[in-house]
């Protein structure tokens, strides 16, 4: 074997050793590193998502008290039960304030001003949303007084400029209005305020039976419990059947 042969052999042997080292040790380790890096990236993204959810959940916990108040206040507009006494009280109060005589109220949509084809005497559930409770009521008063009455009834639940809701009474939708002069006072060409009879077909709204006012939550905890359920329904009933100050329900921020 010549010296050159030995040299070539040594080079080949050295390259073989280096190649084997690379293939058997270094390359697999580098692949492992790459794989782990990818896993870390995925896990980091997942962590960020979960941390976002946790942050939102913490925020929800901080907002719970305000949200509970909002839900109870919304219960004044749409109570969990029919709350007919509070509705009558609201109509009577509005008519007194506007110098309008509140003549009658009838459950269910009826009369010429009815806009609904069916005139159920009991609440009917809309396919989605709230249960509708149609009713007809009759007022008498001057045109201007009736105008103010409509304004007052609309104001029971209105939007605020900030996108929230201002709730001071039952949410009502007026579907039909019929005004006629009262026969006794009708005099053609009479000047001054003439009394009118207003027959109004309206709809009040009730929460679906499947939903409670607060879904069993209490002022301190959202977790439903038997005690909490009864406690939650009591203040809503009270607040809806008695005059309550206007409450503003603003979007949570």
């Amino acid at each position: 074997m010549t010296a050159r042969d030995r040299l070539v052999l040594a080079i080949v042997a050295a390259l073989a050793v280096l190649g084997a080292f690379w293939v058997l040790l270094v390359s697999p380790e580098r692949k492992t590193v790459n794989k782990l890096s990818a896993e870390v990236s995925t896990a980091s993204a997942q962590l960020a998502t979960v941390q976002g959810e946790a942050s939102n959940a913490l925020l929800a916990q901080q907002r719970y008290s305000a949200a509970y108040t909002s839900v109870v206040n919304l219960g004044k507009a749409v109570p969990p039960s029919e709350e007919v006494p509070s509705l009558i009280y609201q109509l009577a109060q509005a008519s007194n304030e506007k110098n309008v005589e509140f003549s009658s109220i009838t459950a269910g949509a009826s009369g010429a001003a009815a806009a609904s084809p069916s005139s159920p005497a009991t609440p009917t559930a809309a396919p989605t949303g709230f249960t509708q409770m149609p009713f007809t009521f009759v007022f008498s008063g001057g045109f201007s007084d009736l105008y103010h009455l409509f304004l007052q009834l609309n104001k029971a639940t209105v939007r605020t400029t900030s996108g929230g809701l201002r709730v001071s009474g039952r949410l009502l939708t007026l579907q039909g209005v019929k005004l006629e002069p009262i026969t006794e006072t009708t005099t053609t060409g009479a000047s001054g305020a003439q009394k009118l009879t207003g027959t109004i077909t309206a709809t009040a709204y009730v929460l679906p039976a499947s939903q409670g006012l607060t879904a069993g939550a209490t002022p301190n905890s959202p977790t439903p419990s038997a005690a909490a359920a009864s406690a939650a329904s009591t203040p809503a009933t009270t607040s809806a059947s008695t005059p309550a100050p206007a409450a503003t329900v603003e979007p949570l921020r």
Binding site: V40, A60, A112, F143
Partner: protein
């Protein structure tokens, strides 16, 4: 002359060794190079191993943090559910509020535009079904598919009966009624005097002799989408200003 090698035979052997040593020096370089390569590879392996260990511990830390965060989320789920309930309920109420027709504003407008010599003997207003243009007071509306009793697209109509001092006053009334905010159409149903000139309605009997009684149907624009912002109660009407032609 014969060439004679003057170098001693010992020196000649050593010199050969020197030559022989030069040849083995090449192999030595190869060995040294191989060792250097191995050293580099070991370094690379060490770095990779270190990174791998670091990533593993990082992964373990992230997994632990994720677990903690998930537990926290699970514990606070009732709160998030309640907030969602609150948002849904507020939206439902807001949708109903936004979909209402502002009767008060309509009456205010009616009082504003009606001519002085015209009086109203009857007023019958309804909010009809979406797409309906019928103004009949007994017109039926389909049951609401949304939460509101007056769903988006419902068409409010008012049928007015009244007395005017003359037929030209009736014409003026028609013109003025088109000035009402949000009115889409004003159409005359009838106009005549009670002395056999065409009108037999009860309102005609309430009018003075020779004074025509009229019946007019006012059709408003359909109620807008509930999602539109409503900063005031008169949004439905103010959205379509310029009804007068």
């Amino acid at each position: 002359m014969k060439a004679v090698n003057l170098i001693p035979s010992d020196e000649r052997r050593r010199g050969g060794a020197v030559v022989g040593g030069g040849r083995s020096q090449g192999v030595a370089y190869v060995v040294l190079g191989a060792l250097a390569g191995v050293a580099v590879l070991v370094l690379l392996y060490g770095v990779a191993h270190h990174h791998a260990s670091s990533r593993r511990s990082q992964l373990a830390t992230i997994a632990a943090e994720t677990q903690r965060a998930q537990e926290s989320v699970a514990a606070l789920t009732p709160y998030t559910s309640f907030i969602a309930l609150r948002e849904a309920r507020m939206k439902a109420v807001a949708d109903v509020v936004d979909s209402r027709f502002d009767w008060a504003h309509a009456f205010h407008e009616l009082g504003r535009v009606l001519p002085r010599d015209t009086s109203i003997t009857s007023l019958d207003g309804t909010v009809g079904a979406a797409g309906s243009t019928s103004g009949s007071s007994s017109s039926s509306s389909t049951s609401s598919t949304a939460g509101s009793a007056t769903p988006v697209g419902s068409v409010p109509t008012i049928t007015l009966g009244g007395c005017a001092s003359s037929q030209s006053e009736v014409a003026l009334t028609l013109q003025r009624l088109r000035l009402i905010d949000g009115v889409g159409d004003v159409s005359l149903k009838s106009s005549g005097t009670s002395d056999g000139s065409g009108s037999s309605s009860s309102s005609a009997q309430q009018c003075a002799p020779k004074s025509p009684s009229f019946s007019v149907q006012i059709t408003f624009d359909p109620l807008p989408a509930a999602s539109e912002p409503a900063s005031t109660t008169g949004t439905q009407l103010t959205a379509s200003t310029g009804g007068g032609q």
